[in-house]
Amino acid sequence: MSAGSQTGGDLALALRDVEKDYGAVRVLEGASANFEPLRPHVIMGPSGAGKTTLLRLLAGLERPDAGEVMRGADVRLGMTFQEDRLCENLTATANIRLPHGYLPDELLERFLAEERAAMEACGLPVDARPVRELSGGQRRRVAILRCVLADANTLLFDEPLKGMDEKTVDAVMAFVGPLVAERTVLWATHDERELAFFENPVLWRVEDGHVSTC
């Protein structure tokens, strides 16, 4: 069970003249962007500029008021939301494995070993506690691992490292970096230092309702 990299197929991800309002607030106004597949894209912009809206549109969780959101037929999504969105009564391993659904015994054992190695690499305790008993930082790491260990070729991250201390960030990124290298990554942040985690990323800016490359 390898974390789903894919080099072929229709992995297009784009917006064309997208408009999106929330009540009287216009968040995106004629936004267009074409996210090249299998590359890291870092999306920056001030708080409230529309980074989350952009990711939610691409994930299919919001519909544009006007314009078009295009997602290739072979896109398999994984996402780290701004909130952890974990099943509180399940263990960290059960949460991380959730996107895989039912796994037969042999695959389950193999994936469990993969999960445990990943958790140890990210400084997470491997035990039988439900995630409601974990700290905020630990829960965040579980949410990130659920995303990067999913069988997905396109990963959306919405400020995934927010609130994490530097040492934990380094440990997490040392593990996550190689895992996301061959996938399309959209990484929303307002911290410029996070650019350094990616090799040759495309830098996007969301501001005043528009999305543009820098």
Binding site: L61, E83, N89, L90, T93, A94, L98, G101, L112, P130
Partner: protein, 263 residues
């Protein structure tokens, strides 16, 4: 060290609470005993010692255990059917508004109609042997249905969005997300419905009088003005109810722990 001290204090506190509870129960038992002696009329009131003696006597007979077994078995079947049907209907109702709206008046009526009316009505339809089964079902169904439906509707929509993004659908979504979110509601539903079913089932037996049941013995006690028997059977009903509730709570607690601890 401080932890051990805290644990010790906690244990002392719990012991004191239990001691206080037992003292209160003992107080009322003494009042009951003295009351019975003061009235001195077995037909009106018998003391706890006599009740206990009668219960011990009954417990040595095969008929007592057969009656408890028959009542328990029939009411248990009705209760389990209600748990299965209530959960399935709640799942359906959460998917289709039309089902929810169609079921709303039925569940409302089941909750509002008095047990006695149901018993008489059901007696017209089924043999008295099945009466307690049907009544247990009728009592438990709306409780299970309402709680499970509430649990499903309280499932965090953000979790469902997460499932949409990761493509977790169908049975996997039920097994991994809904089950985990609904389980606490289900646990409350089962505990609540169990007590209701048991008491209503016995009441139905008293009216329907199926052979070899607790209800039949209660009725006999009333007809023959056998107050010690009436009290002894009542104590047996309460004891079974408390034991069942404790057993179900324990089993469900264990199951939940195991469910939560799955790797």
């Amino acid at each position: 060290m401080a932890r051990a001290g805290e644990r010790g204090t906690e244990k002392d506190g719990r012991l004191r609470t239990w001691a206080a509870r037992l003292a209160c129960v003992a107080f009322w038992l003494v009042v009951w005993e003295f009351g019975a002696r003061a009235i001195d009329a077995r037909i009106i009131l018998v003391g706890p010692l006599e009740v206990l003696a009668r219960l011990a006597e009954l417990a040595t007979t095969g008929e007592f255990w057969a009656s408890v077994g028959v009542s328990l078995g029939r009411i248990g079947v009705g209760f389990l059917a209600a748990v299965v049907a209530g959960t399935a209907l709640a799942a359906l109702a959460s998917r289709a508004t039309v089902v929810r709206e169609l079921l709303a008046p039925v569940m409302g009526a089941m909750k509002a109609v008095p047990v006695a009316s149901f018993v008489i009505l059901v007696l017209l339809w089924v043999s008295s042997s099945y009466l307690s089964m049907v009544i247990a079902l009728v009592m438990a169904l709306p409780v299970v249905y309402a709680n499970v439906l509430e649990g499903i509707s309280q499932t965090d929509p953000k979790l469902l969005e997460m499932c949409d993004v990761f493509g977790v659908r169908g049975w996997d979504r039920v097994r991994l997300v809904y089950a985990s979110e609904v389980l606490p509601y289900f646990r409350v539903a089962v505990t609540l419905a169990l007590g209701l079913s048991w008491k209503a089932g016995i009441a139905a037996e008293v009216i329907g009088l199926p052979d070899f049941t607790i209800g039949e013995h209660l009725y006999d006690a009333k007809v023959y003005l056998d107050t010690p028997d009436l009290f002894a059977w009542t104590v047996a009903i309460v004891a079974v109810s408390v034991a069942l509730e404790a057993l179900v709570k324990r089993v469900m607690g264990r199951l939940m722990e195991r469910w939560e601890a799955r790797p």
